[in-house]
Amino acid sequence: MTSSDEEYGHLAPLLEQYASLDEDDPAREALREQLVTGYLPVAEHIARRFANRGEPLDDLVQVATVGLIHAIDRYSPDRGTDFFSFAVPTISGEVRRHFRDLGWSMRVPRRLKDLHVAINSAVAQLAQDLGRAPKPSEIAQHLDVPLADVLEGLEASEAYRSSSLDEMLSSEQGSATLGELVGEADAALDRVEFRQTLRPLLGELAERERLIVMLRFFGNMTQTQIAEKVGISQMHVSRLLAQTLERLRDRLDPETRDG
């Protein structure tokens, strides 16, 4: 990137100097400010890429700037990577996290959000260790928090809906396609007598929703197993499954009501 060399080339030595200073060196503060100001256009550029998703650009720039500060603080030139290849993912990660926090459809206290994140990762870890979904008591023990807090946190999870950005990220992550995964379940579907009415409706679903429904109801997999296979969290599977069932029920109802 020649343009960035011209624009930011003078900052590279400052970065090295900043990284080499001791944490309590009084010179750090001024240097840091100079760096943040100098690299600010990078943060603004990334923030603009996330615009038009229902969030004010000013907020996004602010979040991206926080990401930039993290990047400047954590960058170590002696690792041999250049600053941009470190800073760009760090800054976009910060903006993504901001969108993830917005995925709450109800105002939930920060403490509960953090607990939700902690519970989510505890669930993933425990599911792997136990080979099944964990119980609230096991999560409480793992996180060393009171059981009442876990119950509260699980309740708060019900107020969460994934934002569209989140959906986008997780489908990026799940690289497996429906065709690759479904195989066996498809055969089971053929034996279902009401497939005539169900199949067209399943066809209308997004690929991932369809896959989850098929694996759960025709492949007889648990939510935890599906989560592992599709590459999203058990709670996300639970939410998608509940949403999809509701949608299917609405669509199926007129045909089955008379039956």
Partner: protein, 126 residues
């Protein structure tokens, strides 16, 4: 524990919240909590569709060691009404619950339809 509401779809979220709270407090594993929640949702939605106008939906939850029994009932709109078991909804119930049964009876001349389901605290590791 018994929950009685108007047989209206708008109240189903309350009933399923009760179901998932009971399961969480009974220390069901997360899959089982979520399954029970969806099963109660499905059962209630099925019954509300069959209910007589202005009738009552009754849900009885019995929390046993390692399992919860749910029994949901409504007064049916007409005599001879049954819960159909060849639907996708029934398939969903069979998958989510460990045992599910459709019931119908006549109580004091009023036809009653119900769904009974059992959910264990956790699946055996497979």
């Amino acid at each position: 524990m018994e929950v009685r509401t108007a047989a209206s779809a708008a109240l189903i979220p309350t009933i399923r919240a009760v179901a998932s709270d009971l399961a969480a407090r009974a220390d069901f594993d997360l899959d089982a909590i979520s399954d029970l929640r969806m099963a109660v949702d499905e059962a209630c939605a099925t019954l509300v569709d069959l209910a007589a106008p202005a009738s009552t939906l009754t849900c009885i939850f019995r929390v046993q060691a390692e399992r919860i029994e749910v029994s949901a009932q409504v007064q049916a709109a007409e005599s001879g009404t049954t819960v159909s078991t060849d639907t996708f909804g029934w398939r969903v119930l069979q998958t989510l619950a460990d045992h599910v049964e459709a019931q119908h009876s006549v109580n004091g001349g009023v036809p009653v339809v119900g769904i009974q389901l059992d959910k264990r605290a956790g699946d055996l590791p497979r």
